[in-house]
Symmetry: C2
Subunit: 249 residues, 2 copies
Amino acid sequence: MILNSVSVDCVIFGFDKSGLRVLLNQIDKEALQQSLPEQISSDQIKKLYEQHPVLTSDRFWSLFGGHVPEDKDLDEYAKSLLFQATGLHNVFLQQIRTFGSLKRVPYTRVITVGYYSLINPDHYNLKQSSIAKSLQWFNLNELPPLCFDHDKIIEQALIKLRREVMYHPVGFHLLPEKFTLTEIQSLYEVILNKKMDTRNFRKKITNMELLIDSGKKQQNVAHRAARLYSFDTKVYEKLKEEGLNFRIE
Amino acid sequence: MILNSVSVDCVIFGFDKSGLRVLLNQIDKEALQQSLPEQISSDQIKKLYEQHPVLTSDRFWSLFGGHVPEDKDLDEYAKSLLFQATGLHNVFLQQIRTFGSLKRVPYTRVITVGYYSLINPDHYNLKQSSIAKSLQWFNLNELPPLCFDHDKIIEQALIKLRREVMYHPVGFHLLPEKFTLTEIQSLYEVILNKKMDTRNFRKKITNMELLIDSGKKQQNVAHRAARLYSFDTKVYEKLKEEGLNFRIE
DNA sequence: GCAAAAGTGTTCGTTTTACACCCATGT
DNA sequence: ACATGGGTGTAAAACGAACACTTTTGC
């Protein structure tokens, strides 16, 4: 049994040279048909299509989500969705908020609990995922047409991520195990949508004592190779608890 | 029609000399009986009472809440609950998060969306409320036995309030229209659970240019009367947007 | 040798901290 | 006159902002 009135939707963020990205799920007409109530009239369908033109296109996109089973813990269910989508366990995953406006889904009342997740690009190979074919990364600035209020959910996820990243070290979940200072900086720049001063940024982040110089350097780059760093997990946990201040410039 | 599986629970905060307080709702045995499923066996009831001893006492307490009607917007419903409990409109009200663990409510699956609200003590006279008799303020350090996971919801509300208060000027919703600097300081001290230095606190808050000296003073106090301030709503809105930094000492 | 990104220090102004005494009022 | 809380300034340290050039590497 599932709880028809409650769903979970996941905003899955990734980060690489091209910027901040979101993993979306393609919906085709058949999947849509199935999600509609059975007794729907053709008149109602017509009206539905008028109000939500995105549903008439052959393909449109949605967050990866599903209805909560009656016998599953909410957070656990969100984790299991994330596993279905990415094949990954133990990924950073947090609630955004719950979206419950009346007409957010046409023809049925569904309250959805939004979650956001931060994916390490070492794990971008999502082939293990059970529905990998219909999933695709989109640049945050070039989102395709999305169904329902999923654009708003993504927007709220970004707002939440921005706040989080300023005061807690969570952004680092978007980085590979070893990373350069420039990568962290451009991560912050992309998330906060702000250019930062390299010298000041480096001073700040090295003063935190969060980073460990791995002793290694980038390979095969057409310029001076940058040092690779990793985290001191103890300091990381401490900063997660106590908070930090990354409101720069 | 209501959505049986989704409820809203409100953590209603108040503040005065005695500190930070929460408005709770007293549940008696009859109200409890009614909320149980009808086909419950006496064996099951026995087990229920064993697992949740608080339910056996004649009186215990809960957050003010209810199940979401199918035809009501979630946020609107939370507002209407708050109105029922306090007789007040336009009160600060925000989602905490959604609590969805499997056994949080025995014998039925209920996912609850937590909200927290900040009440101005000018409005402590809650007689207009439709259920005022069963409501009572409790000091946060002296909470009575609470049903279900309502203690956890309050804890999360406090955590959320703490974070919010450090970076946004929301705490001021807990103050009367005119207030003294000492009142603001003790508000912050209570919420953040930290003593602060008076001179530094005053310097900081007056530098924000958020306060307007009303020109008036306290009356009938057995010591030097303090100045009464109110807010510059424009600056208030600006700080709400841009954030501020109240991580002191 | 040139293109591309890595890496680095100093100065100046602002903010934060630590700290102790006099003032106004009611009883 | 005393008890109670209101109100104030300064110096030292830490932090944030602004700013330009040299180094390393691959091609």
